[in-house]
């Protein structure tokens, strides 16, 4: 085909058509994902909305759908968030700080890095098995909030570490050099300058990790979070249930009403997640503005 011949022009038109079709295809696929999300949320809402009332939030589960409520599960989940945050944030951020500020490029650091990358990909149910064997059985912590919190913390630790490392890496070296040149030690520099500057990024990563922890069911099933809990936990050593477990339990029942109850539970769960993410975005914006 010579340049400018009729054949080439027709071929060019075909190529352009192909490009247009391709672009439209990609766009359609992407937007259908948005549509899908909307459908999913809509479906859940109409199924469960009717059951959402104060009685639902303030009652314990029951064999009778009209009397069943989500109180114990909600409280259990809140307890869990608190304990998991308490355990995983210090350990995760400390690890990230260690890897970025203190460890060299030596083999020790590399081994830890590889470990974390692999742990990030381990299925959550394996963490459940680990928690069962180590926390519930070996340390005899029974099926308590502590067991659940420790297991979930191990699960989300890689996420927190990786996200925190990214945030810490973004602090420019020039700030550290300035601090060192004033006779500051590595920790003084990390505490006074690196951590505050990377705080927004770390916070975002932490919230993402905690959101994941809230939605995970399999590990809690493994360590034995109970499915019919008609009391509120009063301390970390008490047994408990959690939102995803309760939802799973209700979905597994054949009766239609329990499915709707499950939908209502899902709405509550999504609301909790929404609040957490909104808090993260708020904190991130607030601290980012302060740094500017």
């Amino acid at each position: 085909m010579s340049i400018g011949s009729e054949k080439e022009i027709r071929h060019l038109a075909k190529r352009h058509r192909k490009a247009k079709v391709f672009a439209s295809f990609c766009a359609a696929v992407t937007w259908s994902g948005v549509v899908l999300l909307a459908v999913l949320l809509y479906q859940v809402s109409i199924d469960g909305f009717a059951w959402l009332d104060w009685q639902f939030i303030s009652s314990f589960p029951s064999r009778f759908p009209e009397r069943a409520g989500i109180k114990s599960a909600l409280v259990g989940t809140l307890w869990l968030i608190g304990l998991v945050a308490l355990i995983s944030i210090p350990v995760g951020v400390s690890t990230a700080l260690y890897l970025e500020e203190f460890a060299g490029k030596g083999r020790f650091a590399k081994v830890i890095e590889v470990n974390i990358a692999n742990l990030a990909g381990v299925p959550s149910i394996v963490y459940g098995i680990l928690g069962l064997a180590i926390f519930v059985r070996y340390f005899a912590l029974e099926r308590s909030l502590v067991s659940g919190a420790l297991t979930m913390s191990l699960l989300i630790l890689p996420v927190i570490i990786i996200a925190s490392r990214e945030a810490i890496k973004m602090v420019p070296m020039s700030i550290r050099y300035a601090a060192y040149s004033l006779g500051a030690t590595k920790w003084q520099t990390a505490w006074a300058h690196v951590l505050p500057s990377s705080f927004p990024g770390i916070m975002t990563g932490v919230i993402l990790a905690l959101s994941r922890a809230i939605g995970e069911t399999a590990p809690l099933v493994m360590i034995g979070a109970l499915t019919f809990v008609a009391f509120l936990p009063e301390g970390p050593m008490d047994s408990f249930t959690a939102l995803p477990i309760q939802i799973y339990n209700w979905v597994s029942r054949p009766q239609e009403e329990f499915h709707q109850l499950a939908a209502a539970g899902i709405i509550i769960l999504l609301v909790v997640l929404l609040i957490m993410n909104a808090t993260a975005i708020y904190i991130r914006n607030k601290t980012e503005r302060r740094l500017k």
């Binding site: 994902g33 948005v34 210090p90 381990v122 030690t185 920790w187």
Partner: protein, 319 residues
């Protein structure tokens, strides 16, 4: 330029921050610093301990299992009935269940995820990106039980209108739902990989008279291929490890059939089944849990390692 006068401030009432007479040698060990470094290092070791614990636990209990059941029965047997008589320990039905759900999910998620990534990185305006990116994050953040619920109450009934023979618990529903679950992962990671390809590469291709389709498929995607492939592998690994959605959608029936309309059991669903039931510790049934878990762990580990290798070895370095 006028010379500014140095202010005469009496030095006596300002304590000097530095005493010029102290030796620059280490006068005292910085205990605080050492302890802090110790604590930080200890935290870092938690990851190593976790990995070690997982490996030791799984391997030791699996060895116990293989004292009672021969590996050939386990790996090549086609009947899985460990919990009732007559007991049979062939794991292939579970592996098959995991396989068809994963492949089904991949067939759905890989083309659509990649197409979304291409749309986001090559075609979408900033405004569109600002809408779609959060949507993807939301989709990724939805808990797996919700997808299980969605499968049971929406997907399966919808499928029934097209395929009336489909069972309440079926593999297709699970595959669809898991596909939706891993789609955001592929889209986001691939988008990152494609966005990392420098604009100059695209511009060079456009300058030669290529269409957007040609630039995308012949220049951009090949350049970002390592990241794209790594995202596929990570998503597949995630699909293999998925538990609750498949348990709810596909049921608990170990089944080697080729039909996707029937109930199957994945490795993960089996593990949940055992732990929800009253299985005595130490019995053979309890050990099957670890054997299956070890198999699951090994498969995902291999996939993750391969994906990391691809990322590290074949990543294009643009400079």
């Amino acid at each position: 330029m006028t010379q500014k006068q140095l202010t005469e401030t009496p030095d006596t009432d300002i304590q000097s921050p530095v005493s010029g007479d102290t030796s620059i040698r280490q006068s005292r060990i910085r205990w605080g610093e050492a302890m802090i470094k110790g604590w930080l290092g200890l935290c870092a070791i938690v990851s190593i301990v976790t990995t070690a614990a997982i490996v030791i636990l799984l391997v030791s209990e699996s060895l116990n299992f293989f004292e009672n059941v021969s590996p050939s029965e386990f790996f090549f047997g086609t009947t899985w009935t460990p919990l009732f008589e007559p007991s049979s320990y062939g794991v292939l039905p579970l592996v098959w269940g995991t396989l068809i759900v994963t492949i089904g999910a991949a067939v759905i998620a890989i083309p659509t995820g990649l197409a979304s990534a291409i749309y986001l990185s090559e075609y979408a305006s900033d405004r569109v990106r600002r809408i779609i990116k959060p949507v993807l994050e939301l989709l990724a953040g939805i808990p797996t039980v919700v997808y299980g619920y969605f499968a049971l109450t929406f997907v399966t009934p919808s499928l029934k209108t097209f395929f009336p023979d489909i069972q309440v618990f079926n593999a297709l529903s699970a595959a669809i739902v898991v596909g939706i679950m891993i789609l955001p992962m592929i889209a986001t990671l691939s988008d990152n990989a494609l966005k990392a390809v420098p604009v100059s590469l695209r511009q060079g291709a456009y300058a030669l008279g290529a269409t957007s389709y040609e630039v995308t498929t012949r220049v951009v995607v090949p350049a970002g291929l390592s990241g794209v492939m790594a995202s596929f592998l990570l998503a597949i690994s995630r699909a293999i490890g998925e538990t609750m959605a498949v348990t709810l959608a596909a049921g608990q029936t170990p089944n080697l059939s080729l039909s996707m309309f029937e109930s199957i059991q994945t490795m993960t669903a089996y593990i949940v089944q055992v732990s929800l039931g009253d299985t005595p510790t130490g019995g053979i049934a309890y050990q099957t849990l670890f054997a299956v878990a070890t198999l699951l762990f090994s498969i995902t580990l291999v996939i993750n390692i391969v994906s990391q290798l691809i990322l590290n070895r074949f990543r294009e370095v643009y400079d």
